[in-house]
């Protein structure tokens, strides 16, 4: 039963960490919005999906790469990858701002109850995915290979592949940048102030609408970066790809403690590794079962997730 885990432990671990970092970035999209609005941004999964298309369009249509063209090298490689990353973040960030504008802002201004925004968010998420389905004729879309998947070396029998290594380091870098932004910048402080006490923040002169838009934007940027890494590793997207990713990232956010940025970090990594190990030991058919049993167990003992909700503890 454990022979696969023992035999391939380090390959699995590297794959799990890379997947985990993608989850970390997507779950930031959920956790930031929740932290500020106390609402789940159900459209985040589709924001991710739009980001994957942004990534592919950059390499395929702007730089003209095809399935058969040779991977990029040297400065061109850096140029294409960075353009893809920026494009994906821009597409996802703008989509997130759009979602906030259409599905949240007006309802919030009118003071409707939370269920109304829940439905409008689900509505916009269906619109986004069905629109992409119509645009792509329901077909899966493959990404041309820009970054050659060179095996850099071997560590304890596991291949270190360029794309996974890039994903792990770059995603970690983006995570820390965002965390610093929320912790240190003036806007970040405003975001945290609103999440602690909306009314008090307003009285202190914080522009609520601007804070909420920025929160969606930052969550969208993180999700867009995740979409870029996802395409670099898996080279594939489809209109319905957001659902599974959204589910996993939301689970990661809850596991770590939704509303808590550090919770998203540990939750994402934990989930990535758990999925990979569980699939290897029990068979992939048991992956979802294991993940949700672990989630229930965690919530049983720590109802606010592994790291709790930072905001709620300060409230009490």
């Amino acid at each position: 039963m454990f022979e696969v885990l023992i035999d391939q432990f380090w390959s699995l671990t590297i794959a799990g960490v890379a997947l985990g970092f993608i989850y970390v970035l997507v779950s930031l999209g959920y956790t930031m919005v929740y932290g500020v609005l106390r609402m789940i941004n159900f459209a985040n999964s589709e924001i991710f999906m739009w980001g994957t298309f942004g990534t592919i369009i950059t390499s395929r249509d702007i730089f003209g790469y095809t399935q058969t063209s040779a991977p990029a090298t040297g400065p061109k490689l850096a140029l294409v990858l960075i353009s893809q990353l920026l494009m994906s973040m821009a597409v996802a960030g703008l989509t997130a701002v759009f979602v906030e504008y259409v599905a949240y802002r007006r309802l919030r201004a009118k003071g409707t109850n939370r269920l109304a925004t829940l439905i409008s968010a689900i509505g916009i998420s269906i619109v986004l995915s069905e629109l992409m389905r119509l645009l792509t004729d329901s077909r899966p879309v493959g990404s041309p290979r820009v970054l050659e998947k060179i095996i850099l070396g071997e560590v304890w029998g596991a291949n270190l592949r360029l794309d996974t290594i890039v994903t792990i380091f770059a995603a970690a870098g983006i995570y820390f940048l965002l965390e610093r932004f929320v912790k240190l910048s003036r806007m970040g402080k405003a975001i945290r102030a609103v999440s602690m006490n909306e009314d008090a923040a307003k009285l202190m002169g914080v522009n609520l609408n601007r804070v909420i838009t920025t929160t969606f934007l930052v969550g969208g940027l993180a999700t867009g970066a995740a979409a870029f890494f996802y395409i670099t590793v898996f080279e594939y997207t489809k209109f319905n790809i957001g659902f599974t990713m959204g589910m996993a990232a939301f689970t990661a956010a809850v596991l770590g403690g939704i509303g808590n940025i550090r919770g998203a970090f540990y939750g994402g990594l934990f989930l990535g590794l758990l999925e990979v190990y569980a699939s290897a030991v029990l068979g992939t058919q048991w992956k979802a079962v294991t993940v949700f049993i672990v989630l229930v167990l965690v919530l049983l003992f720590k109802p606010n997730g592994l790291f709790g909700e930072a905001v709620q503890t300060t409230r009490a």
Binding site: S11, Y236, N240, F243
Partner: protein, 384 residues
Amino acid sequence: MNKKIQRSLAVVSAAALVFGVAAAQTSANAAPKTVYIAYQGPLSGGEASTGTDEQNAVKYAIKLFNAKNKATYNVKLVSVDDQGDPAVAGTVAPGIGKNKAILGLVGAAYSGATIASLPFYKAGGLVMISPSATRVSLTDSASPDFGGPVFHRVVGKDDLQGPALAKYATAGISNAKVFIFDDQSSYAVPLAGYVTGGLKKVAGATVVGTDSVPNTTTDFSPTIAKIKTSGATVVIYTGYYSQAAVFIKQLRDSGSTAIFAGGDGVFNQEFPKLAGASAEGSRVTGVGGLAGVSTKLEADYKKSMGVSSGVYSVESLDAANILLQGIAKGNTTRAKMLAWVKAYNGKSITGNTIKFSANGDISYGLFAGFTTKNGVLVNTGIIK
């Protein structure tokens, strides 16, 4: 929540369709006679690509027919969206079953949705010809799923394909060590079972490992770890082409050179396109897509429909043609249409003779082997 909303939308749109048809019928003029056939399959939701491809083939057949029989008939298509989901099928099928204006139905695309729809079509005497429902029990008169007398299919059953795939995947490999995995769909799991059964008859072949991976997976690293540990020389996947393309890329990137083989779900020219060089040498069973039948036909299809043909296009065209030929012969009631299909003896566009057994199975069911060469799946002949 999401799915529920989709479901209720499906009900509403199906109702609109049914009433729409009834309204259109009363206003139809005497000549040319307007008649209706239906297509049922997943047209929205996660499985929409299969249904859209099949329905396009049906539309193509109708287009050709209407152009040829302008003076006598005007055939219209009723789209029935079951999302490939038995629960949705159960809500859309009653209206279609009762609407006698619909003479015949191409579908349902999926076996599960077919079983859920059958009671209503049996009650309405509506003949069905499925291009892709391969579950064995559908034509087994001893099974509660038995679809007679209305159910027919123009696709080979799993118990024929499984052994063919086992043989083709291991051809030329002595003492093949085989790893089998499926995508957990109702198409793939039984097929994987028949492949395993088929491997027992291949000398020297052993199954060294299995897995079952949800069809939404994009990270196959655990499965690949298992394949490496098992030392497999042949990997057989029962599932669909898009997942197969994602998987084969990751398998090759991991350094494995094991032979990759898949069933008719993988049989699609999009597979080598999506997977690129990684797909070279992959072995796939299928009855041959449109392009496999004739490149001229595929070109005309693409010109007419605006998109390339997809999975089950040949079967969908054949199924639609059987109904359309029945209409041309004046079988414009359900009872006559059912009798026509039961007694049908004609040619598939592949050249095979189509006849149905008493239980609704197609008379042939030979699978051809295809291998990816230079980015295209090339027919290597019937697997014997």
